[in-house]
Symmetry: C2
Subunit: 244 residues, 2 copies
Amino acid sequence: MRNIKLTIQYDGTNYSGWQRQNNSNSIQEQIEKAINKVTSEKVNLIGSGRTDKGVHALGQVANFLTSSRIPADRFKLALNSILPEDISIIESEEVDIDFHSRYHALGKRYRYCIYNGKIRNPLYRNYAYHVPWSLNYKEMEKGIKYFIGTHDFKAFMASNSSVKSTVRTVSKFYLEHKEDLMVFTIEGNGFLYNMIRIIIGTLVDIGRERIKADKIPQILESKNRQLAGHTAPPQGLYLTRVFY
Amino acid sequence: MRNIKLTIQYDGTNYSGWQRQNNSNSIQEQIEKAINKVTSEKVNLIGSGRTDKGVHALGQVANFLTSSRIPADRFKLALNSILPEDISIIESEEVDIDFHSRYHALGKRYRYCIYNGKIRNPLYRNYAYHVPWSLNYKEMEKGIKYFIGTHDFKAFMASNSSVKSTVRTVSKFYLEHKEDLMVFTIEGNGFLYNMIRIIIGTLVDIGRERIKADKIPQILESKNRQLAGHTAPPQGLYLTRVFY
């Protein structure tokens, strides 16, 4: 058996999300079907983690075991010729048989895009969060700094989810302005369910001066989801890189 | 009667183009229907020009006559609340009763985006022309310069179209590299049918060294569509501004 690692880009707009589910169109299923066409094997494609409906990826990672003899870098071309245009394999390589996309991930980098124009821009509707209000950027920048470091992020996790530990480390978090887009980059050793979207929603609430930036330490300490801000929508979120 | 001028953005992906046609979903028709809902009048919306299926706009202009008393700047909000999310009115204002979006246009600015990565990027599939080959940028830059000025562009017009004069003036034409995108900006007093897409296709052929940049004056002079390059696809093209 050989272990093949794929690096994947996708436009999440027309999918139910990464994870295979009954009666829904997932990215995992599309790629598994394409691998099946190429190898005639039924494989289990292991992703580095799920992405929700509407969330995009520029560097999702997944791996699968195969007994096919196809050269590893050929999978890229073979799969792209079968996959729909909104999914693309940008790299395929053979890795150690023990490599596991999820267990071995040391960290992830995400991007979140906000379009801060007064009127909606049709070209961003599936690719950014439209925030039409004027935002206090200085307060938002102040807010960003409080998230960096190791914290219990329970207050920034979707309230219906459960996990052993809610302590995570955010190693990088910064904001760039690119023309009319606000582009956030956030990097960490792992993220709780909806954590980034709740952090971004909270920053928007800070920008609107509905929450004070210097309240973030208290919100973190409270571990109470109710005290954090709203959950920003999925279409602004991009998984850009997985670190191993 | 009042004359209302609209500035419009749209994602052309899901439309048959600007122009109303039987049994197809046009942008003009969508906006006319929305105006009808707001004013209870059947209007004829005059666009500055057509855009083809798949072509986008960041600043299309159109006007219509109405006897409605709705304040001009209110149309923007009223229409946006009805229009689908891939069409947006970014400005509505009252103009002189004689103003005509098409006849009075002095010039237009377009953008054309090429994604020059080896592997397709799913997020650009509807928004850029994917050119996977390596391109000779220097030759392309050289080619661009030959198009600037007043020329007979007959060789750069779709061969099945007819028009009184094929002489046009290109006043600005330049290329910027934005990360992995090549962004062309072209401005002129008017463009023939498919002219920009044939110019871009020819530049790609020059970048691939299939046509020499210094052949452009001869191609222009020949007035022969066969000698120019291929027609670049519509999804890379954006109407960004109409000048009056």
